[in-house]
């Protein structure tokens, strides 16, 4: 399973990845594979403030649904409309075109507290 080196992770498989002054949230390759074909994503409205660990949406396959948790605190500045219209992007390119939301982080130090790629790899049983 691919693990993006520039991202940091939650054990619940969401990642945060710096993008300029913002952070991009998505789910890991491992998570999309576990879930199977993604059929629907529900994402928050732009402007909503999320605190670290808060639920910011849901992602669904035919037979499963997972809540999404914010890896860091921040205000939503952009939502990936493309993925709402074509949820298969999450399966095809979860670290790229299949990103979910972009936030303006509130507390920069939270990012370093997340699992780094190596630690996340361990958490999902990959070295």
């Amino acid at each position: 399973m691919a693990i993006d080196k520039n991202a940091r992770y939650l054990e619940s498989h969401e990642y945060a990845k710096p993008s300029g002054e913002h952070m991009i949230f998505g789910i890991s390759d491992h998570a999309q594979a576990e879930l199977g074909d993604v059929v629907f994503v529900e994402l928050p409205a732009v402007g909503k403030t999320l605190s670290k660990g808060a639920m910011f949406g849901t992602i669904e396959s035919v037979k499963a649904a997972s809540d999404l948790y914010a890896p860091v605190s921040g205000t939503v500045v952009e939502v990936n409309e493309a993925v709402k219209n074509d949820p298969s992007l999450v399966n095809k390119d979860c670290y790229g075109a299949g990103w979910l939301i972009k936030v303006a982080p509130i507390n920069a130090s939270e990012f370093s507290g997340l699992l780094d790629p190596a630690a996340y790899g361990k958490a999902i049983g990959e070295e």
Partner: protein, 439 residues
């Protein structure tokens, strides 16, 4: 017993295969002292005897068919074409279950899809689910759905003239949540919709038979950020504007009158429809069209992540078994009557009810209180309506529903229902009997 095929010899052979010396041994996980000696019930009887027993109970009830019947109030005496029970009663429909294996359930699945399509078009909604337990539970679930969809708002506006049993079911369903119910009277567009209002419920028509157009109230609700729920008479929608075309976000209805017998209150059909925007918050099974691997059209249960078997405590509702067969009856009913037939039934109900209202309104002491109505109207009576019901009952006429049964202080109000089953002669007999009863 004819329903247990295995003979003693076969049972012995099966026990040997299992490696048990007796059937009792198979129950050895049950603590000894909890094994019962027997039930305090009679032993089983034959098919003939059982049928006689059930029939003798059935024959002690008063039947619509044997009276001049003008009682509705949420359950309607309408004609059911012979084809409906004949087809719905086929064992392949009757003895299947929820279509979990779509390849061998295309019959049920396609029928649900057809029902969804016809019911959606009738109500003017973009999607209808594959049923709730009845109209009352559908409405209660709609209230919960709207309340959850409008996070932070906890007020629900209910019409004062809502079927009292529906209001009671809503109360039971919502008892655990912080929902404030505000009752409003009269036209829904004058209801106190505000920024705490999650939804307004409109009864179309209301319990007294009065019809208020939905459009203005729906617009006002939307301006205030609230949702508009309409509890509709589905037959009325064949003649009058659908709730959907007037802006309803959720529509619920009791589908009994569309092909399901009265059956002393059930099984009936809870109909719920909504908009594309809210479909993922709607409870209940939903069937969708798709293709098989060879490109052939087929149908499957879909959007299941809303439901309890996947979402468990986060499901939008706990409903599992529904009213599948009642839904199938309605599906076949709608297909049989079709556009012309359904219109004609709605038309005749409307005309006959208005004819009856005209006659009764002309009797001294009686006045018709409903101004716009479909097939049911409220009459003020010169003496207690319950007494009139009793008096006419002796003469083979059930003149309607005495409101005092639900509201002890509304003694002189009679709700009269006229359907396509009533003839002009019956209506005239009713009017004559009411005239006599006023003296």
């Amino acid at each position: 017993m004819p329903f247990v095929p295995n003979t003693d010899a076969e049972r012995a052979e099966m026990l040997r295969a299992v490696g048990a010396s007796s059937v009792e041994e198979l129950f050895s996980d049950i603590p000894e002292h909890l094994h019962i000696k027997g039930l305090d019930l009679p032993d089983g009887i034959s098919e003939i005897e059982a049928l006689n027993e059930v029939d003798s109970l059935a024959e002690r009830n008063v039947q619509t068919k044997k009276m001049d019947w003008f009682l509705g109030a949420g359950a309607y005496y309408d004609y059911i074409p012979a084809a409906v029970p004949a087809l719905a009663g086929r064992g392949e429909f009757l003895t299947a279950y929820t279509p979990y294996q779509p390849e061998v359930s295309q019959g049920t699945l396609q029928a649900i899809f057809e029902y969804q399509s016809m019911a959606a078009k009738l109500l003017g909604m973009s999607v209808v689910n594959a049923s709730h337990y009845d109209g009352a539970t559908a409405l209660a679930e709609a209230v919960l759905m709207a309340w959850k969809a409008r996070d932070g708002r906890n007020r629900i506006l209910l019409p004062r003239e809502l079927h009292p049993e529906y209001a009671q079911v809503i109360e039971t369903y919502c008892t655990s949540f912080d929902i404030e119910f505000v009752r409003y009277g009269g036209a829904p567009e004058n209801a106190p919709i505000d920024d705490k209002t999650a939804a307004i419920v409109i009864a179309y028509p209301n319990f007294s038979g009065e019809i208020y157009p939905v459009k203005k109230a729906a617009d006002r609700a939307h301006e205030a950020g609230a949702l508009c729920i309409v509890q509709a008479d589905p037959l009325m929608c064949a003649l009058m504007k659908s709730p959907g075309e007037q802006g309803a976000d959720i529509v619920t209805a009791e589908g009994q009158s569309l092909g399901n017998p009265l059956n002393f209150g059930g099984p009936y059909l809870g109909i719920m429809g909504t908009t594309d925007a809210l479909v993922r918050r709607m409870p209940g099974r939903i069937v969708g069209e798709t293709k098989d691997k060879n490109g052939k059209r087929g149908f499957v249960l879909t959007l299941s992540t809303r439901e309890q078997h996947i979402r468990r405590e986060k499901a939008v509702s706990n409903i599992c078994s529904n009213q599948g067969l009642s839904m199938l009856q309605t599906c076949i009913y709608l297909a049989t009557l079709g556009k012309q037939g359904l219109r004609e039934i709605a038309r005749q109900s409307y005309d006959k009810a208005h004819y009856a209202a005209e006659l009764i309104g002309g009797i001294p002491g009686y006045s018709v209180r409903s101004s716009q109505f479909f097939r049911e109207f409220l009459v003020e009576t010169p003496r207690a309506a319950a007494q009139i019901v009793r008096a006419l009952g002796q003469r083979g006429i059930v003149p309607g529903f005495a409101l005092s049964r639900y509201y002890p202080d509304r003694r002189n109000e009679l709700l009269i229902c006229v359907t396509e089953m009533n003839t002009r002669t019956q209506i005239e007999r009713l009017a004559a009997a009411l005239r006599e009863a006023s003296r």
